[in-house]
């Protein structure tokens, strides 16, 4: 049978990706340019017996998905920068309580209401450092409609596998444009569900690390009964202030994402013509599309340019960026903000190569020409 093909907006593709991943709960609050995700979910979820709720605000939306996830659902919310800001306290909660859930951020300009219908990439640091406290973060950044579908599936997989909130960031351009989507057949993309406890209920501890850095998670309303809190907790889930326990838990929660093995599993990059590149453009999301155009153009002009596109923004692809820094004469970061990821790149490449930055925040996308000009200037 031929695969289902459709011309879909990025936001619609996101909703379909979530459904493919088995999402059965959506709690949201409308905000441009993300609203189509909620609109599609409100129509599709009841068809598969799932639940959609429009909450009273983004805080409530975030709370509802954590609650639903603890009751065993695969839960999603979608919003834009200001909404993520409202969710931040509870994103911290989901980090410490280790509750799988997926947060979509369709980025606009800003701060505040900014340019609701214009694109931006100014929430990439918010995705890393927006909430309080020490914590690891996973954030993915697709750049096409098909990739929004598959990265939304991957976001659910990572959330379930690592028991934590995962953010997917794309900007208004990809969120609203339409491209052909080939729907993967069931089973074609991997779908991961959280590890359920294997011990009998009376032995279950929700943060039992004898199973590794990611403890199995039971569901409310099953044979297992447990306590969840936002306080620092011991293995049994109950609050503790014992110094060594608090320290060990905090470190484990970072290690489960930033440990070498986890990094290798979570990180995903695309490289285009980097093998012999003398200059590499570091770009992500829709900006990477302009950058690819720029690479082709630069190559035609005899400049050995390449593109490094992190699809996983967090954890940051430290190893590969460091290697490229050693290889190239210059790296040019292109982003639709006034310079955010460039600080990460700078931290990693240090002085191994020259570093350029091209930015744009006026509501129009960065054009290939702007990137080309910056590459030439840096070289």
């Amino acid at each position: 049978m031929a695969k289902k093909i459709a011309l879909l907006q990025g936001n619609e593709a996101c909703a379909h990706g979530a459904l493919y991943a088995g999402c059965n709960f959506f709690g949201g609050y409308p905000i441009t340019p993300s609203t189509e995700v909620a609109e599609v979910m409100s129509g599709e979820l009841p068809k598969v017996g799932g639940k959609f709720i429009q909450m009273e605000d983004e805080i409530g939306a975030m709370a509802s998905i954590i609650g639903a996830s603890l009751a065993g659902s695969k839960a999603l919310t979608a919003t834009s920068g200001p909404g993520v800001s409202l969710k931040q306290e509870l994103i911290g909660y989901a980090c410490i309580a280790e509750v799988p859930c997926v947060i979509i951020n369709v980025m606009r300009g800003g701060p505040s209401t900014g340019m609701p219908t214009g694109p931006g990439q100014s929430d990439v640091m918010q995705a890393r450092w927006g909430t309080h406290g020490d914590h690891a973060a996973i954030a993915l950044c697709p750049s096409s409609c098909q990739e929004i579908f598959s990265e939304t599936v991957r976001a659910f997989n990572l959330a379930e596998k690592y028991r934590m909130p995962v953010q997917v960031l794309f900007d208004e351009i990809v969120g609203h444009m339409r491209e052909r989507i080939v729907f993967p057949e069931p089973g074609e993309l991997e779908v991961i569900d959280r590890t359920a406890p294997s011990v009998p209920p009376e032995q279950y501890k929700p943060f039992d690390t004898s199973f590794g850095d990611v403890p199995p998670l039971a569901a409310f309303g099953s044979d297992y009964r447990f306590h969840v809190t936002g306080l620092n907790k011991a293995e049994d889930g109950f609050p503790t202030t014992k110094a060594e326990l608090v320290d060990a838990e905090e470190r484990r929660q970072i290690r489960k994402v930033e440990g070498a093995e986890a990094r290798a599993d979570i990180e995903l990059n695309e490289e285009y013509m980097t093998e012999d590149a003398e200059v590499v453009i570091f770009a992500y999301g829709s900006t990477a599309r302009s950058a690819r155009y720029a690479v082709n153009e630069l190559r035609e002009q005899g400049i050995k340019a390449g593109l490094f596109r992190p699809i996983t923004l967090w954890p940051f692809p430290e190893k590969r960026v460091a290697e490229l820094g050693e290889q190239v004469k210059a790296m040019v970061v292109a982003e639709m903000n006034l310079g955010q990821m460039v600080f990460e790149v700078e931290r990693i490449v240090k002085n191994t190569c020259k570093l350029g930055l091209v930015t744009r925040v006026d509501g129009d996308p960065l054009t290939p020409t702007q990137i080309i000009d910056q590459v030439k200037e840096v070289l």
Binding site: F25, G27, P46, K47, G49, K51, I53, M55, E56, D57, I59, G60, A61, A63, S64, I65, I66, G67, A68, S69, L70, A71, G72, S73, A75, E89, L90, Y93, F220, G221, S222, D223, Y224, R225, F226, H227, V228, T229, G230, L231, F238, P239
Partner: protein
Amino acid sequence: MAYDYEKSIRPGKLPHIWCPGCGHGIVMKGLIRAMDTCGLEKNNTAIVSGIGCASRMPGYLDFNTLHTAHGRAAAFATGVKMAKPEMTVICCGGDGDGAAIGGNHFIHACRRNIDMTYVLLNNYIYGMTGGQFSSSTPPGHLASTTPYGNPDPAFDLAKLAIGAGATFVARTTAFHATQIDKLIVEGIKHKGMAVIEILDDCPTTYGRRNKFRSVVDMMKRLKDIAVPVTAAAKMTPEQLEGKTLTGVLHKEDRPEYCENYAKIIARVQGA
């Protein structure tokens, strides 16, 4: 024979954190008896709270328990209930938690008429943070942030719940211990959003600053201000001055949120 609370308490989790004379313990005992009377199955019950002294309650109770963030209990609970409507969901928490920072979630849970029982412990103060005034501190009273007397008017929490659409609203006090379980039982059995406001005391941060010399004084006040709705009907406005109505204040039947959503699913899937 004395009532056995142990069977509902998590082994090893006591002593609780509450101060001597705090009303929260009395309410917890009432909640335990009420859940027992209703025959709630532990695995099929979730108790959700926010942050505050009152919100520490779930940690002691041997059920599925969710101690969330300040003010968010009703919203977390909405997610749990929507995901598993077959579960009994109970919220508990303080006046600051439920009606100030969490007021928006609270009123919208009432409006939706989602099937949960919200036990609102109103001790007129932010106890946990040391006695700052809350949205239910009476005007003129002293709190750590109202050194010249509280300039703010106070919420009538039961009225707020009724106005927002809760379909069962009742009130009692920590002094009226046996009425606590009676009303919570009615709340649990009610299909829809049930709010039980329990006037409570915080000797440590509220009583101390205001003219209550002892816990007994505070309890006496709760006893004095409470007037059952039935009795109030025969009283003059002058007699009711400074009093608070107790008992079942409001009860109506209105479609419940999860049932409504289940109908949507059935309709969509049938089509």
